[in-house]
Symmetry: C2
Subunit: 363 residues, 2 copies
């Protein structure tokens, strides 16, 4: 007991002396300093800071603590508190910094994170291999991961990381077909239907559906959904479906298409629904070269796009706007549920969002 006491006293005394002596030079203010100044113990300081439930602090003490904090310009050390609580209050956002949509997702993540008090760790270097990345996350004791994936490139190793590390994970636009992974997905069927409805109101005839695709991509779920929606819609409205597939890079095909439809006026303005945001600038460019005015000579619309990315286009493209900002927010909420409710089966693993019609001048 004496020995024990001796150790503690020695410990603290030394500490206090050091503090007192070098406080000015090495300005690391701790909760201890605050406690000392406020004339309370460190636990009280901690209680005040965290509103620890079940522990009351008298009004005067509380104010004394707050006062001391202000005077000493004290800030909790998130690392130290994290070590105790096991939470880092930090989530990782992964995505390709080359992709402008990533910024919108970040905006959403950020907004929601502020709400929960999370901070965002950014790490989207696509060159970095996934195990390096996992190591990084594990080192920082990240509370969760959000990644912006691509519908057609589902990276298996991500799932593996999640399995191994046990870190809660939410994918945006990825893992649509892996039921265990939580993901935020766009309802592309609805997108196409609404686009067709819009165009149908404008012109009497149904649009040609143009599928842009990369050379040797196989059709992904999103593309399948869109195509089926188009065919179904045509069937329901007793129209002949007209589908065209164009490989990215095949300028000639675009030119042919444009020339063909711009002359073929069987009632109303010829119109085109494009499947994929990447195809739009290609269409615009060819139309520009051919001196066709989009929005006058041809109507054009995109079923997978964002308003923000096309605002400088002339004429402004009519789009089904994918709400990336909101998807970012949703991801954080989903992550939060995953973290708190442990294994509650209440949450569905797939969260669907709908694109919103943003009429422009092109249709």
């Amino acid at each position: 007991m004496t020995a024990k006491h001796y150790i503690y006293i020695g410990y603290n005394t030394c500490y206090i002396l050091c503090r007192g002596a070098f406080n000015l030079s090495m300005k690391r203010v701790t909760s201890f300093d605050v406690a000392k100044r406020a004339g309370v113990s460190r636990s009280v300081v901690s209680a005040v800071l965290n509103d620890t439930p079940g522990i009351g602090v008298s009004q005067e003490k509380r104010e004394a603590v707050l006062e001391a904090i202000r005077e000493l310009n004290y800030h909790v050390d998130a690392r130290a508190s994290g070590m105790k609580t096991g939470k880092s209050f930090c989530i990782a956002a992964f995505g390709n910094t080359r992709n402008p949509l990533f910024l919108q997702v970040l905006e959403g993540i950020q907004r929601a994170c502020t709400e929960y008090g999370y901070h965002i760790l950014l790490s989207g270097d696509p060159n970095m291999d996934i195990s390096k990345l996992a190591d990084l996350y594990l080192q920082r004791r990240i509370d969760g991961i959000i990644s912006l994936d691509s519908v057609n490139a589902v990276d298996e190793s991500w799932a593996q990381v999640q399995k191994d590390s046990g870190i809660p994970f939410v994918s945006i636009e990825g893992f649509a077909e892996e039921s265990e992974v939580v993901s935020i997905l766009v309802n592309y069927k609805q997108s196409v239907v609404q686009a067709l409805t819009h165009m149908n109101e404008r012109v009497g005839i149904q649009p040609i559906y143009v599928i842009f695709r990369n050379e040797d991509d196989i059709e992904n779920w999103a593309e399948r959904d869109r195509r089926e929606a188009y065919l179904t819609w045509c069937e329901q409205h007793a129209r002949n479906p007209r589908v065209r597939v164009i490989t990215i890079g095949d300028e000639h095909a675009i030119m042919e298409l444009l020339q063909e439809i711009s002359t073929d006026k069987h009632g109303g303005v010829p119109s085109v629904l494009v499947n994929w945001s990447v195809g739009v600038p290609l269409m615009y460019r060819k139309a520009y070269e051919l001196r066709l005015r989009i929005g006058e000579d041809i109507f054009l619309m995109s079923a997978d796009n964002t308003k923000r990315n096309n605002q400088a286009m002339l004429p402004i493209l009519s789009v089904m706007d994918i709400p990336y900002v909101r998807m970012g927010e949703m991801a954080v909420h989903a992550l939060n549920e995953q973290m708190n409710q442990a294994k509650a089966p209440s949450i569905a693993n797939k969260l669907w969002v709908e694109a919103e019609l943003q009429p422009g001048e092109s249709s």
Copy 2:
């Protein structure tokens, strides 16, 4: 001595027992576990991990440690190590997530951070007040801050935060006139000169310089530099300077300008140099409405812009490309110097970068 010993043994024994017993359920692997498995002490593990200078570890022990790390899937706890070393290896990136240029800066920051082993904490909520933000940074014991500022909005409170917190700080495009702050700035004079040179080679006459500005902005240093560069260039080439100031929102002024210059053909294609990226889409739009073809009827160029932001424009805009990605990288390097060399006066506080000519189709 006995008491002391008793305490330590008790401490460690309990620890070991707990570990052994609950290792599966509470899977927090520590350096202690690694040490035990490799048959060494924790210090050796640490030495292996950090290549601690001046401390050699025999080859076999080192391999044993590495092996154990792999087997146990061990990852250092960055928080714990940070507490000892005083470094968090984390830098904060601040910027407006609404600004697409921010993404390019992030790309650069990221690239350079990978190199140094820093991680990025993102926090760009522009609504959040600056003292909240400072608190956040201080809590996380951030090693440095990079912020993407705007040339015409120098936020005084930022500087205050830096003073108060002592956290190394680098501004991108901000604080040009505050010599104490380290900032990365664009040489806008050079930008204008090179743009004029380029256009002069294309058409015989000097371009009109159009200054787009917000209603009640006062002229900032960048705008002053650009205007002066234009005037100087004209003088040196014995040309009559022609400057136009247009307030954002004044569509009529743009229309007048376009109509005026498109008819006024005194030799060569009439051409325009725009001061600011925001003005470009406005010019394009009016030209589109007037059915003037940029790149044929009028030449147009921008002295403050990015290639990436204009790639979908028709025709592609010729720009002086501001290298935001590189500026992000530079910011990290500058931060690093600030952190390592303490107060070395060797580093100039203002780092200048040059815009690069990216010819498009508009001039």
